[in-house]
């Protein structure tokens, strides 16, 4: 447990120190959302708002992941000696999930500022985003670990993670569409399945990561 906390703390400190990566992500979010704003010029139906929101979320999280999840290769040698793959991946999943949540909250803020916000039921929307973002970040963590081994970087990561993200995204999209209805019902089932997908992805990461751990 202590080890877990120590790794998370170390990642956080590292992240806070590099101002460049924060600024890059912020700028990326702003420009992508601004392009969407220019293309749609404010007259967005809730359905379109929702679709656009999730498309932007994938691209933003992909970008954030590629910048931030990058295992600093030179330090890996040190990490090998102090911890086990299971502890490392758990710490990574927790840290990346929190990181991605912050990124998506910033993204939602900028997106709502420019394109409005038709969400009626804030709590459903927030829980959906929370669950979806956590799943996306775990899946991207794994995809990034795979892509790094492939030496393909961003492009490889995108093609291997897009098809795998689909079940998560359609469930989340469906739920957030529900949150825009005046009187949302029947959302518990979908929320449970979103949670189940998250748990499944986390379990797969936990089981499979040790095979990617070292060469």
């Amino acid at each position: 447990m202590n080890q877990l906390a120590a790794i998370i703390q170390r990642e956080l400190r590292h992240e806070l120190r590099s101002r460049r990566s924060w600024l890059a992500i912020l700028l990326y979010i702003s420009s992508v959302v601004y392009i969407a704003y220019l293309a749609f010029q404010h007259d967005l139906e809730p359905v379109t708002w929702n679709a656009l929101f999730w498309i932007l979320t994938i691209f933003i999280s992909m970008f954030a992941a590629s910048g931030s999840f990058a295992g600093r290769e030179s330090e890996m040698l040190y990490i090998y000696t102090i911890t086990s793959p299971h502890k490392f991946i758990m710490a990574r999943l927790i840290y990346n999930g929190m990181f991605m949540l912050v990124v998506s909250i910033v993204a939602i803020a900028i997106y709502s500022l420019l394109l409005g916000n038709p969400v009626g039921s804030g709590s459903i929307f927030f829980i959906t985003v929370l669950l979806a973002v956590w799943g996306i970040s775990s899946l991207l963590t794994m995809a990034f670990a795979i892509a790094t081994k492939g030496g393909g970087g961003f492009a490889l990561m995108a093609i291997i993670s897009f098809p795998l993200l689909v079940p998560l995204l359609i469930t989340a999209q469906h739920l957030s569409a529900l949150s825009m209805m005046p009187d949302p019902t029947n959302y518990t089932g979908n929320m449970a399945s979103l949670l189940a997908i998250d748990a499944l992805i986390a379990a797969l990461c936990y089981l499979l990561f040790p095979y990617l751990w070292r060469d």
């Binding site: 795979i146 492939g150 291997i160 098809p163 795998l164 499944l200 797969l204």
Partner: protein
């Protein structure tokens, strides 16, 4: 008789050829029930549907050998996993093409000539995209052992997410499939797949699945020879 001898033996290939010859002849000539909308296109059941059975069968073989590779990393397990995935892709493409041709004549009114918003089509496309990504991933790693290990990890991930999609998608929004037998469409579910069609359909499934195993086994042998030659030089 062990498994390897079984794969290399001849008799099941003879059975496969007989079954497929029977499928071709009876599939085109045997009487079929006249259903509205479907009419004679119902014969696609013997071909299109069997492609999906074969694809899922051969992808499952690939998954099993990927898991086996992670537990016991031998070159053999890796070759079987990768060549099965390649073979599965061929069957997946054939399944998609036969389906697209068919939907043009039966769902033409949906406004999409070659595509329709259907859970089964989306599931098929996701399967194909994931396994093409598997192929690209393999191509981008040079070191044989690293390639095998990373690809095995991805294969397990992809297969599980594909199954998740197939389970989740139809539940959302009650999206019902346009496929025959779903959503009140006339079809061949257990009540109206009549006995004449069953007599052709079951042999067809067995025949096509056997063919996929046969093609995969040839690919596996070819890949072994390639690697042998490569190592000799």
């Amino acid at each position: 008789m062990n498994f390897k001898n079984f794969i290399n033996s001849r008799w099941w290939k003879v059975v496969c050829v007989i079954m497929l010859a029977y499928t071709l002849i009876m599939g085109f000539l045997a009487p079929v029930p006249a259903k509205p909308i479907l009419h004679e296109t119902i014969r696609n059941l013997y071909f299109h549907v069997c492609m999906w059975f074969s694809m899922m069968f051969i992808f499952t073989v690939s998954l099993v050998y990927s898991i086996k590779y992670l537990m016991n990393p031998t070159e053999e397990n890796d070759i079987i996993a990768s060549e099965s995935a390649n073979t599965g892709l061929v069957f997946g493409i054939l399944g998609l093409v036969t389906g697209m041709l068919w939907l043009r004549y039966t769902w033409g009114e949906t406004g999409h000539d070659w595509w329709a918003p259907d859970p089964k089509l989306n599931g098929a496309l996701i399967a194909l995209l994931s396994y093409f990504a598997y192929v690209v991933l393999r191509m981008s790693i040079d070191d044989e052992q690293k390639k095998a290990r990373v690809a095995a990890v991805y294969n397990i991930f992809a297969y599980v997410m594909m199954i998740v999609f197939v389970m989740i998608y139809p539940r959302l929004n009650n999206v019902d499939s346009l496929h025959p037998g779903n959503g009140g469409n006339p079809g061949f579910n257990q009540y109206d797949l009549d006995n004449h069609m069953r007599m052709v359909f079951y042999p067809a499934v067995i025949g096509w699945v056997m063919l996929s195993a046969w093609i995969a086994s040839l690919n596996i042998r070819l890949e072994k020879i390639n690697r042998y030659n490569h190592n000799k030089i």
